[in-house]
Amino acid sequence: MAGKPRIAVYWTGGCGGCDVSFLELGTPLLDVLAKIEIAFWPALVDAKRTDLESLPPRSLAASLINGTLRTDENVEMARLLREKSQLVIAFGACAHLGGVPGLANLSSREEFLRRTYGNGFHPAPPPGGRAEDSPPDLLPRAKPLSEEVSVDCVLPGCPPPPELIGLVFDAFLSGDPPPAGHVFAHEKALCEECPRTREDRRLAKLVRPHELLPDPEECLLDQGMVCMGPVTRGGCGAACPKGAMPCTGCLGPTPNAGDPGLAMVSALASLVRVGEEGEAAFAAEDQVLDSLVDPLGTFYKYSLPSYVRTGKRSDG
C-alpha cells in the first residue's frame, strides 16, 4: 500500500528513557512524525492493542521495541509486534543487550521478591477477585529482545542518543532498509571521538570516580579509572568522558570486541604496570588488579543477560 510508512514504537519495559530520548529530537521530531504514520505508540498516541491485533501481518514497516523482557506479557507483545512488522528494531540497551534491569539476573527471582517485599510474599488476586486478577508472574530471568523474537537491527544506547535515533529514520525514510544485524552506532570504539589525550598507556593503580577529580585533558583510563570506552561503540560523542565520568558501555561492544567483560579484563590486565615487569612485581600487580570491585556489575552493566548466565543461580 502506498502512503507514509507505518511504524510502531513500544516498550516491553524500559524506564521510558528511550521514548523520552525520542522526544529530545525536538523540532526534527515533528518533521519525522510528518513523514511517517504512527500506527501504535502508547507514549504518544491513543491507539490500542486491539488496533494492533487487527492489523494484517507485516503491515507495519517497522517496530521500535525498547525494554528488557521481564514478564510473559512483554514476550506476548514482542511476538505480536514481530508478526505485524517487516522490521523489528531493538531500541535501546535493554532490548539490545538486556539493560540495567538485566542485572537482576545476578540473583534469582525468588531472592529478589523476598528482598523487595520480605519473606512469604506471594502474588494473589485482590479481595473478591479471581486467580487471573493477581499480578502477572515474572520470567525466571530478564532477557534481551533477540532471545524471544528475531531482531533485524539495533538502535543501541541507554538511552539511544537522539542523533542516532535520527539516523534510523534517515536510513528508514531513504527507502533502503539497513542490512540485517546493523547496529546504528559507530563500528569504532568511543576512544575515536573522545577528546581526551592518551599519553602513557599504563595503569599503576585503579581509582573509582569518587576517589579522584580527574585531569580535564588526560584519558580517564590512564588516570586509573575503569573506562569502558575502548570496548564500547562510539556514537554518543563520548558524552560521559567529556563529563569527566568513565564510559559505562551503554552503546554495547564494538563488532569484534566479543564479550565486553573479557575484552575489558584483557585490556586492563594488559595495561597494569607496577615498575619493571617481572617476578618481583607480581604481588604489586595483583594488588592493583584485586582493587577492581564488582567486575560483573561494572563490565556487564547493560549486557549481563546477553553475555552472562551465572552458574550461581538456578536457570529456569
Binding site: 547496529v183 566479543g258 564479550d259 584483557s266 590486565a269 600487580e285 567486575p295 560483573l296
Partner: protein, 150 residues
C-alpha cells in the same frame, strides 16, 4: 551399576618456545601423561585470548591449561607477564560466574622441562577429575552481537 569414570575435557594453549617445546621433549623422552588435553600451539602465551578460554568453556571444556615461558625467559620478553595478569583477573570473574577458578591453570614450563610438563599436565587432569563435571550452566550466550565476525 557403577557410574562411568568422569574424564575431563581440556584445551591446552602452549607457547611454541617453552611449554610447547617442553611438551615435545616430554614426547621424545616418551614420558606418559593422561590424554585429556588437546594442545593448541601459539607463538606466545601472550597471544592467548580470554575469549578463547571462554569459548573452550562454552564448548564444554572442563579445564583450560595455559603453558608459557618462565618469568624472565619469555621469547618475546614479556608476553607471559601479560598473560599472568589477564588470567589472574579472569579467575576472579570466573568465581562470580560460578566456574571454579581452578579450572583455568597457568604454568611456566621451559623447553628443557619435559618431565615437568608431563607432571603438571597429569596433576591438572587429576584435579579436574576430582573437581568433577562443571556445575554452572553455559557461560555466555551468543546474543545478536556476541558473535564475532571472522
Amino acid at each position: 551399576m557403577a557410574e562411568p569414570k568422569f574424564e575431563p575435557r581440556i584445551v591446552a594453549f602452549l607457547c611454541r618456545w617453552c611449554a610447547g617445546a617442553g611438551a615435545d621433549l616430554a614426547g621424545t623422552s616418551r614420558l606418559r601423561y593422561p590424554p585429556n588435553a588437546i594442545p593448541i600451539r601459539v607463538n606466545c602465551s601472550g597471544r592467548v585470548e580470554l575469549e578463547w578460554v571462554m569459548e573452550a568453556f562454552r564448548s564444554g571444556a572442563d579445564g583450560v591449561f595455559i603453558g608459557g615461558c618462565h618469568p624472565g625467559d619469555c621469547h618475546y620478553v614479556s608476553g607471559n607477564y601479560k598473560t599472568r595478569r589477564r588470567v589472574h583477573l579472569l579467575r576472579r570473574m570466573l568465581g562470580e560466574l560460578g566456574i571454579e577458578p581452578e579450572r583455568v591453570r597457568l604454568e611456566w614450563v621451559s623447553a628443557t622441562e619435559g618431565a615437568k610438563f608431563a607432571r603438571v599436565m597429569g596433576k591438572f587432569v587429576e584435579e579436574m577429575r576430582a573437581l568433577g563435571p562443571r556445575k554452572d550452566k553455559a557461560v555466555a550466550t551468543a546474543g545478536l552481537v556476541a558473535v564475532r565476525k571472522g
